[in-house]
């Protein structure tokens, strides 16, 4: 583990912690992994933590009274505390989920289930005349659940638009978010453009009209220092696998007063208080929202990922990616025919760059890059409306993380030029 004292990351030492970065691809090419926005690679510390859980403590959490069950439960609850602390929150407000998509659906279904739940849940009930506000830059995971919630309840979906420069159009805030608005759900950082959205003005407007705020922090918690109390939102969803953690675990932070009145989403074992044939009552949060045997090994791995990132220092992680994205924007600007979709400056911007190359479909750009060992994502990146907003069917996206270095950005730019040569558009 590389603990930093200077102002920047020791990328070479960090890379040594990631076994996968030593493999080659496509006939012996060095792997240049530029798809961390989709999922990050995992350091050996995370893999070891997960393996150790299975080797020493594996048992079903919150069940039984034997020693292994106690140890597994302790490990799981300690993991919850670590993940909560990583975002400055209390463990009692942190629900561990399968992923961020489940976290967001949990809130959406709690809101529609509120209609048939007890009196205290009535504050969450939506109906015709109410609105839910999202933005044009949302990942489908923070768009489709709200479309569906509106369809189920008769509420109306509205959205804030995106400027040509890839920023949220805050001019629309006062009109789009109005007294009918019950919830505003938006991305902290765009998974396509890297845009870091200003949270404070959105929260301020939401508070004026009495709306709840949910922040999709999938692309911010892994890359920026995020403090839940400072954000002053009501819900924060993020995934584990994008922040060096294992697949299959994510988190929902929710304001305690809200979690307490929210009816369950998925029901079954572990989330109950009492069960009779005639009906059941439910456990207090966060257990109310964690039915079934939880992914304890994955939670333990995620906690190890939080420890790893904390040791690096999230300020340094953010500074590293900020420098890389500045370098990438400069290098891509040197290539004629390349157009960046999103901010072309580094102000309030994370380490994700999407672009189109004149005359070459992104799928073909990606294929040439892949042939060179450069792994990027091509397509609409689960944000199809945003692609439409910019009049493109798809983009090529490079996304960076703690293990990305400048030579990999160079490999990307060289690969784009190679694609232009290959398709004869340079």
């Amino acid at each position: 583990m590389s603990v930093q004292t200077a102002g920047s990351l020791d990328v070479a030492r960090i890379r040594a912690d990631f076994p996968i970065l030593r493999r080659t691809v496509r006939g012996g090419r060095r792997l240049v992994y530029l798809d961390s926005g989709a999922t990050s690679q995992k350091p050996v510390q995370v893999l070891d933590a997960e393996r150790r859980f299975y080797e020493l403590h594996n048992a079903a959490v919150h069940r039984g009274a034997h020693q292994l069950s106690e140890e597994a439960t302790d490990a799981y609850e300690a993991a919850r505390a670590t993940v909560a602390a990583f975002v400055g929150a209390a463990p009692s407000e942190l629900v561990l989920t399968k992923n961020a998509t489940e976290a967001i659906n949990l809130v959406a279904y709690a809101m529609s289930n509120a209609a048939t739940a007890g009196a205290e849940a009535q504050q969450l009930v939506l109906g015709p005349g109410d609105t839910v506000v999202v933005t044009e830059m949302e990942h489908h995971a923070n768009l489709v659940p709200w479309q569906e919630l509106c369809r189920r309840t008769g509420a109306t979906l509205r959205w804030l638009s995106v400027t040509d420069g890839g920023r949220l159009d805050l001019d629309g805030l006062a009109t789009v978010v109005d007294c009918s608005t019950r919830l505003v759900a938006f991305a902290h950082q765009s998974n396509v453009m890297g845009t870091v959205n200003p949270v404070a003005p959105v929260v301020r407007r939401a508070r004026e009209v009495g709306a709840l705020v949910l922040l999709d922090a999938c692309q911010s918690v892994p890359h920026l220092p995020v403090s839940v109390p400072d954000l002053d939102v009501d819900f924060v969803a993020f995934s584990g696998h994008k922040m060096l953690g294992p697949l299959g675990v994510g988190a929902l932070w929710g304001r305690r007063s809200l979690l307490e009145v929210m009816p369950p989403f998925l029901t079954g074992g572990s989330m109950i208080e009492t069960v009779r044939m005639e009906g059941s009552t439910y456990a207090a949060p966060p257990q109310r929202f964690e039915p079934g045997v939880p992914a304890a090994a994955q939670a333990v791995g995620l906690a190890a990922a939080c420890d790893y990132l904390s040791a690096l220092g999230m300020e340094r992680v953010a500074a590293h990616e900020h420098a890389l994205v500045g370098y990438a924007l400069d290098r891509l600007a040197e290539v004629p025919g390349v157009r960046v979709i999103g901010p072309t400056d580094t102000e309030a911007r994370g380490g994700t760059v999407s672009f189109v190359v004149d005359g070459i479909h992104p799928h073909d750009v990606g294929q040439v890059l892949d042939d060179l060992g450069v792994e990027v994502r091509v397509g609409h990146h689960c944000a199809w409306p945003l692609a439409r907003r910019f009049g493109v069917s798809a983009t090529t996206r490079a996304s960076f993380y703690v293990y990305t270095d400048q030579t990999e950005v160079d490999a990307l730019v060289d690969g784009v030029r190679r694609a232009q040569d290959f398709f004869g558009v340079s």
């Binding site: 496509r26 479909h361 799928h363 294929q367 040439v368 397509g379 069917s393 798809a394 290959f422 398709f423």
Partner: protein, 150 residues
């Protein structure tokens, strides 16, 4: 370098100079197919002749070189053929694309489409190569129904 194996010259030729492109009248059925993983879209029209032959296939769409070229090749292989023969060719193409590069395609039947055997090694691109063929199969089936009802 495996790139040339995938992007054979015949594929790039069809991509740069697509055959039968553009939406034409008359037609029996129009379909719109998308590849939800990448956002490629294709609008395709089919006109069947009185004897059940494929009289015309016209199309418009956005997509990568593989999907565009494959659709162009497909029109060459189906226009003017009896529908059962065109669908059988489509089945042969599908089998080749599912072969992970192992197929030894029959050039007598598949003609320019044999060039796509290299693409079949890349699972993520197989759907691109099939987009036009699947749209044709769908439109042709609907056109048969329309004729039967008409």
């Amino acid at each position: 370098m495996q790139l040339e194996q995938m992007y054979q010259e015949v594929i790039l030729d069809h991509y740069r100079h697509p055959h039968h492109r553009g939406l034409r009248e008359p037609f029996d059925v129009q379909v719109h197919h998308v590849n939800p993983t990448c956002g490629d879209e294709l609008t395709l029209r089919v006109l069947l002749g009185p004897g059940g032959d494929v009289q015309d296939v016209s199309y418009e769409g956005v997509g990568c070189s593989i999907s565009q070229a494959s659709t162009s090749v497909m029109t060459d292989l189906v226009i003017g053929r009896p529908l059962p023969e065109a669908l059988a060719t489509g089945q042969r193409f599908l089998e080749m694309m599912q072969s992970r590069g192992e197929a030894e395609p029959d050039e007598e039947i598949l003609e320019d489409a044999v060039a796509f055997v290299g693409v079949s090694k890349y699972p993520a691109r197989v759907k691109c190569a099939l987009l036009g063929w699947m749209a044709f199969k769908d439109a042709a089936a609907q056109a048969v129904t329309v004729k039967e009802q008409g």
